[in-house]
């Protein structure tokens, strides 16, 4: 099981902050595509070039591999401070 989190504007656009995927293995990019196949309305938001990705709470590129037990997050550029 892979836990997938969404934050801020993206969370609002998708209408959810968390989904879980069973039996997934592949890259973050493949995971994103799988989510967009399940929810076609998400593609415009989730596949935006500005969206950042984290794997197990560290910023990574979308070619990173995901395995069961991992936590993946998608979010817009950060605006703290």
């Amino acid at each position: 099981m892979v836990k997938v989190l969404f934050f801020a504007r993206l969370r609002q656009q998708l209408g959810t902050g968390e989904v879980r995927l069973e039996n997934f293995s592949g890259s973050i990019a493949a995971l994103r595509d799988a989510l967009c196949d399940q929810n076609p309305a998400w593609r415009a938001h989730l596949c935006d070039d500005n969206i950042r990705t984290a794997l197990n709470q560290e910023l990574v590129a979308t070619d990173c591999a995901v395995a069961g037990g991992d936590e993946v997050a998608f979010f817009p550029p950060v605006t703290g401070g």
Partner: protein, 158 residues
């Protein structure tokens, strides 16, 4: 994480005077202390701001800040490093962020304080949502957009 580091993510206001005292008292080997405090501004992108809300990614936030502090320690000889960041709802003029650094000498303290803020602005998973006065007098909420100038600031540390 060094025992001289302190990372706090909190929903309640903090007291800068108390934070300075906590940072500096007993740091007897350090003659320098540099602090940065960021507050909620009353305008942004042409509109008056009345309230700000901050969302974050619990867990990753603390991990990200700890990594930034560790990188600062690798660059400069630092004593104590304290980072505090508010989340949740806050009002205009309230403090959002505090970065305090002690060091034997001022150059390291100044540089590390700026370095930590520059990295925090572009990496730590916080997102601002502001309530603004719209032109028709109504209030509206909007997510704050990231600034390219914040990313450009990082180049000086490359």
């Amino acid at each position: 994480m060094s025992s001289f580091d302190r990372i706090i993510v909190c929903e309640t206001p903090f007291d800068v005077a108390a934070e300075y005292a906590a940072l500096q008292r007993g740091a007897c080997a350090d003659g320098a202390c540099a602090m940065f405090v960021g507050s909620v501004r009353d305008f942004n992108a042409g509109n008056g701001v009345t309230q700000l809300a901050l969302e974050h990614y619990p867990g990753m936030t603390e991990k990200s800040l700890a990594g930034i502090i560790a990188d600062a320690r690798a660059r400069w000889g630092l004593g104590r490093v304290h980072v505090i960041h508010r989340v949740g709802a806050m009002q205009v003029n309230e403090e959002i962020v505090f970065v305090g650094v002690t060091s034997p000498h001022r150059q390291a303290a100044f540089a590390a304080c700026q370095y930590i803020m520059d990295r925090l602005k572009t990496e730590a998973p916080f997102w601002k949502r502001e309530t603004v006065h719209a032109e028709d007098g109504a209030s509206e909420e909007r997510w704050v957009d990231a600034r390219a100038s914040d990313t450009a600031e990082l180049e000086k540390w490359a």
